[in-house]
């Protein structure tokens, strides 16, 4: 699968030029997934997953961690170097504006600090993936978004620029001795309105492969809030008042046949699990399509990561716990829903 190579090329350039990391000399073989055969059993909803390529990208990040561990002062040296260069450039241009002397060093300082913050996030996620025998891709992909739009437009046909898929996990989760394959990731997009106005959105998704094909395709989305809701009757209602307040349905096909299949799929256990998920994660969309359930949640997958690769080339224990809890919670709950659909 072609994973938008431009992202990798830019990342390598930044690593080599700004951070002074000898990218071509990093030993990636030490950091490859241990059980590649097992990783090959992983599933991607688009049917395209190049385990070796994805693994190589994670290995590259772990090799960089190794490099920083072996050279503990390298990161701060680089930041100091670029801050001084920025200061010099700023001083040279200070005749244009006195602010140049401040902005000059602030830009490289800020960029490098942000780089290391993101780097820390990537490492937390890779370690989580390794711990659970999952696969993690740190490189954003526009192509994956194109593929997902063609298969699941109800969820991924959003925005009019900068759509990309990032932070992807592939893995296996077992619920009551049944094995479920999943793929999770972050979907980002922007909506351009007018000449210079653009709003960016971040969402995260979770695909779970079912062991049987559903007879009906339908989408549950958050119930629209309107003061006139009490006057309209919903097309499809389940027996749960709370569920009906949270979700509304959309589907293709004839109402009678679809309603029957939808209600059959949404057994009481599935409804209560979806309510539980909505209470924890806030309003979300969920698509039931063929042999797949697809959840789309608002916001990014991870927030407030404390790991700071400048101070310490180690993952913050609290970060590791939070990331694991967040991802495991949605994977566990998602797969437990799948259990009642099989």
């Amino acid at each position: 699968m072609n994973h938008s190579p431009q992202f990798s090329v830019i990342a390598d350039f930044v690593d080599q030029f700004f951070l002074g990391i000898p990218v071509s000399k990093l030993d990636l073989s030490k950091h490859k997934v241990q059980d590649v055969d097992k990783a090959r059993q992983l599933w991607d909803p688009t049917g395209n997953l190049d385990v070796d390529l994805v693994d190589m990208r994670s290995a590259k990040i772990l090799a960089k961690v190794n490099f920083f561990k072996e050279n503990p002062k390298h990161a701060s040296k680089q930041r100091t170097k670029w801050t001084l260069i920025g200061l010099l450039i700023g001083l040279v241009f200070s005749f244009l504006s006195p602010f140049a002397a401040i902005i000059g060093p602030a830009i490289p300082f800020g960029l490098l600090t942000s780089y290391f913050k993101n780097f820390g996030k990537e490492v937390v996620k890779i370690q989580l993936a390794n711990k659970n025998n999952w696969l993690y891709d740190p490189t954003p992909s526009r192509r994956k978004h194109h593929l997902l739009v063609s298969k699941y437009p109800q969820i991924f046909k959003k925005g009019n620029q900068d759509q990309k898929i990032d932070d992807q996990f592939w893995g296996i989760n077992t619920v009551h001795e049944k094995v479920y394959l999943f793929n999770a990731g972050v979907f980002q997009y922007s909506v351009k309105s007018g000449k210079n106005n653009s709003t960016s959105y971040t969402t995260h998704y979770l695909f779970i492969q079912l062991q049987k094909e559903l007879k009906c395709e339908f989408l549950l989305s958050p119930e629209s809030k309107s003061i006139f809701n009490f006057l309209r009757s919903k097309e499809i209602d389940t027996e749960s008042e709370e569920f009906n307040k949270m979700f509304e349905f959309s589907y293709n096909g004839k109402k009678d046949e679809s309603a029957l299949e939808i209600v059959k799929s949404l057994s009481p256990a599935v409804q209560t699990k979806l309510i539980e998920l909505a209470r924890k994660k806030g309003p979300f969309n969920v698509l039931f399509s063929k042999s797949v359930i697809l959840f789309l949640f608002k916001g990014s997958l991870l927030r407030n990561i404390k790991t700071n690769m400048f101070k310490n080339v180690e993952i913050d224990a609290e970060d590791a716990r939070k990331v694991e809890e967040e991802i495991s919670f949605q994977v566990d709950l998602g797969t437990s829903i799948a259990k009642y659909l099989n």
């Binding site: 209602d237 027996e239 749960s240 709370e242 569920f243 057994s267 009481p268 256990a269 409804q271 259990k339």
Partner: protein
């Protein structure tokens, strides 16, 4: 004049809204109660099969098998009466009897390995989950309805049209504990 008409319009709309919401809530309570009934029936339908399978390996566990039959009868009677308490009582009995059966099965390796028994166990566990979920949905619906019947101003409409509070479906805490099986 326009203001008076607007106020009357708002009052009428609010009245319709509250009445419709009470009707919807009452229907949801009925629907969710029927949901519990369906799941309980599904579970009782599995019992004769379970008894036959267990009999083949542990025929002398008569007392246990009888308690299972009794619990099944109790739940069928409770369901036929449509009474929430009678159904809950039958469900409690059946849950206790099933826990005992599965605990006893640990002592019969052949029974534990029997494919039919394993499938029945899985089906019963899934039905158990569905019953628990149905019960939760029913109780939430009852809470919504009872609150609506109590709070102002919907209590006026509720009393005007004879909406009454419904009973919660409660499972006795004692029956949730693990069953201690003695030999």
């Amino acid at each position: 004049m326009i203001i008076v008409l607007a106020v009357i319009g708002v009052v009428v709309l609010a009245f319709i809204g509250m009445y419709n919401s009470l009707v919807r809530l009452r229907n949801n309570v009925k629907k969710s109660f029927a949901g519990i009934d369906v799941q309980l029936k599904r579970r009782t339908d599995l019992i004769p099969n379970l008894i036959n399978t267990v009999k083949g390996y542990a025929a002398h566990e008569k007392e246990l098998l009888e308690s299972l039959t009794k619990a099944r009868t109790s739940i069928i009677n409770g369901s036929a009466s449509g009474n929430v308490n009678a159904m809950a009582e039958g469900e409690n009995m059946l849950s206790g009897a099933l826990k005992s059966i599965f605990a006893v099965a640990e002592n019969y390796p052949d029974l534990k390995a029997n494919q039919n028994f394993l499938e029945l166990q899985e089906s019963l566990e899934e039905t158990e989950d569905q019953i628990a979920a149905s019960r939760r949905i029913y109780n939430e619906n009852v809470n919504y309805l009872n609150t609506k019947i109590e709070v102002f101003p919907s209590n006026l409409i509720a009393s005007m049209f004879g909406f009454t509070q419904e009973e919660l479906y409660t499972v006795v805490e004692e029956d949730r504990k693990n069953v201690d099986v003695k030999f």
